[in-house]
């Protein structure tokens, strides 16, 4: 079942990549220099979101837990908003906007990781309580969200609009330059992934049961959640808050594979396929107007999840 889900998701991803680079027909330059880098970025960030979401959901045992629920998205968003609305964007702007954009992503990454660290610190008290962790995340997320509103309302209109677009999440005008950092993190996470696939088998156990069979459940939960947080922060930093992917991709693949917890590889592939398709749909539906990918991931992912929920009836 798991293998079949992985194959289906890989096929959907491949078809999505082909369609999104070749439709509508265009010159070689457009296909290889503009669309392919963007599709690659979509696939890589989608995979990072899907994998990060799967880890966070498995550790917290909460299907609603995702980077935007535990504050990572808002931390990245606040840092990016500050970077976009203050002088940082023009910091050494000899080369124009590219230097500015370069400064926004590391700031956002740092912000996301800092928020995650806060949530970890607040949630850490006598072991790992999934509920305390998630609730601390929600509280931090709301406080940071309020911070974003404050920065947005006190900024110049044009800067605020730019920040707003960043907050929705879009792949417009982005490519390999943004894909490389996320890809690096994803590659770095691969060995951890092998460990995680093995370690996850005990996270659904009660802490006492886990201790009884000789594992250290708390350290393991923190390790897995930290990997998920880094992946989500890296992806958010490059493309903005395309974060519904992290919630929906693990659930889609979990339902397709009929697994107890979100399967990791299938979640990554589902996330990649979803962002590629969403970015394509956003470019194509109202062309030449581009809809941000962050909106289309919800428009595509939400109905599909509802369909999967309904379809589960009558099956064992």
């Amino acid at each position: 079942m798991k293998l079949r889900t992985i194959l289906i998701m890989a096929a959907v991803l491949a078809i999505g990549m082909v369609v999104s680079t070749s439709v509508p027909a265009a010159t070689e330059f457009v296909v290889f220099e503009l669309r392919l880098p963007r599709a690659a970025l979509a696939a890589i960030t989608g995979a990072a979101f899907g994998l990060g979401g799967a880890l966070i959901q498995a550790v917290t045992r909460n299907p609603l837990a995702s980077p935007d629920v535990i504050g990572i998205t808002q931390g990245a968003g606040l840092a990016a908003t500050v970077a976009l609305t203050t002088g940082l964007r023009d910091g050494g702007s000899a080369g124009g906007i590219s230097i500015g954009a370069f400064a926004v992503a590391p700031a956002a990454m740092a912000g996301g990781l800092l928020a995650a660290a806060c949530v970890f610190a607040l949630g850490a008290k006598k072991g790992f309580s999934a509920n305390r962790f998630v609730l601390a995340g929600v509280a931090v997320a709301f406080a940071l969200r309020a911070g974003i509103e404050v920065v947005l309302t006190s900024a110049e209109t044009i800067d605020a609009q730019r920040a707003q677009i960043w907050l929705i999440g879009s792949l417009n005008g982005r490519g390999y330059e943004e894909a490389i950092p996320v890809g690096t993190v994803l590659l770095g996470a691969l060995p951890v992934l092998l460990w995680a696939a093995w370690a996850l088998r005990t996270t659904s156990l009660d802490d006492d049961v886990a201790r009884g069979i000789g594992v250290r459940p708390v350290a393991r939960r923190y390790g897995l959640a930290a990997v998920g947080a880094v992946l989500a922060a890296a992806a958010t930093a490059q493309v903005g808050a395309v974060d519904f992917v992290a919630l929906v991709a693990p659930q889609i693949s979990r339902r397709l594979a009929r697994a107890e917890r979100p399967p990791l590889v299938a979640s990554a592939l589902a996330g990649a396929a979803l962002v590629v398709l969403a970015d394509f749909a956003g470019r194509w539906i109202l062309a030449p107007t581009q809809l941000p990918a962050g909106v289309l991931t919800a428009a595509i992912g939400a109905p599909y999840l509802v369909y999967l929920l309904l379809r589960s009836r009558g099956r064992t």
Binding site: N62, A65, V69, L122, A146, E149, L296, A298, L305, V306
Partner: protein
């Protein structure tokens, strides 16, 4: 004990809401106005928004308790279950497609949207293999919330004029509410509270798990239907009249459970109701006195005040 304290706090909040603002009116004046000006301020401006604030606070907090029990998820709230997004969709459709431009007109559409979205969430969840199980309810809610969010974004991005009206509603505020509006949503709040009270014992059992609830002799589907309807009516009424005021439905139930030191709904529901009223009224008053004569919408303040409240409830053992 805690309930008495909550009631006392609510009285203080009501008094503050009537007395404080860009023009401070002493309490004696509030009860027995000596000039036409103060009488007008109290009766036409402060009294209605105080009433609406109480309604909204009670409704959101009680709905939050129900949703957290039904989904057995501590982060369930009006926003996550899609009901709030339903009300927003109703208002956006009313503005963009039907040209409704008054606050009282939007209330009906908000209620309609909330009802439709809530019914859809429960319908989808009930049609799944496990029935309206906690996980499926939460996921159906999250999916419909996200889908409606995308729909709203689509409608607003092609229609700037609608956005201009919508953005003032969506912040969540008690300003410029009239007594008629308070009355307009009152029946929904009252029916919702009655249903919640009836379902309270069943909710206690459901909190222990579906099998135990069945074993205790509760009809699980009936408890879910009654309390779900209550949550939809309460959230719909609150969001329709004041916009989606953030965080009350999420933070207040946690604080109430901590203060009551019990999970029994016959205590948690009323204490949440009182604290919800205190939080919304307090946020509204704070928003009025921070930067007079301009106002910070209550929805912004609740998020700022609610975050530490939730952290306190989470971290205190």
């Amino acid at each position: 004990m805690v309930a008495c304290l909550g009631a006392l706090l609510l009285l203080v909040a009501v008094a503050a809401s009537l007395a404080l603002g860009s023009k401070t009116i002493p309490l004696g004046e509030v009860l027995d106005p000596s000039t036409i000006e103060t009488s007008l301020i109290v009766r036409t401006m402060r009294l209605p928004r105080t009433l609406v604030g109480i309604e909204v606070g009670i409704a959101l907090a009680v709905a939050g308790v129900i949703m957290q029990t039904l989904t057995r998820n501590p982060i369930a709230e009006p926003r996550i279950l899609g009901i709030s997004a339903g009300a927003s969709t109703g208002v956006v459709v009313a503005i963009a497609l039907l040209g409704v431009s008054t606050l009282s007109g939007w209330i009906w559409w908000g209620l309609l949207g909330a009802g439709a979205a809530g019914a859809l969430v429960f319908f989808v969840a009930a049609r799944t293999r496990e029935g309206a199980s906690p996980v499926n309810l939460a996921l159906a809610g999250a999916a419909i919330d996200a889908g409606l969010g995308a729909l709203i974004f689509g409608l607003l991005s092609v229609d700037a004029a609608t956005f201009d009206q919508y953005r003032f509603w969506v912040v969540g505020s008690l300003a410029a509410r009239t007594p008629q509006m308070a009355l307009q949503v009152a029946p929904f709040v009252v029916i919702g509270l009655l249903l919640a009270a009836i379902a309270a014992r069943g909710l206690d059992a459901l909190g222990l798990g579906e099998d135990i609830a069945k074993g205790l002799g509760h009809r699980v589907s009936r408890v879910r239907a009654a309390s779900g309807t209550a949550a939809i009516l309460l959230t719909g009424a609150a969001v329709a009249v004041a916009g989606p005021i953030a965080f009350v439905g999420l933070a207040v139930p946690h604080a109430a459970r901590k203060l009551a030191a019990t999970l029994a709904h016959r205590w948690v529901l009323p204490i949440s109701a009182l604290l919800g009223g205190v939080l919304v009224l307090g946020a509204d008053v704070l928003g009025r006195v921070l930067f007079p004569p301009s106002e910070v919408p209550a929805g912004v303040i609740t998020a700022l005040v609610g975050a530490p409240v939730l952290l306190w409830a989470v971290l205190k053992r």
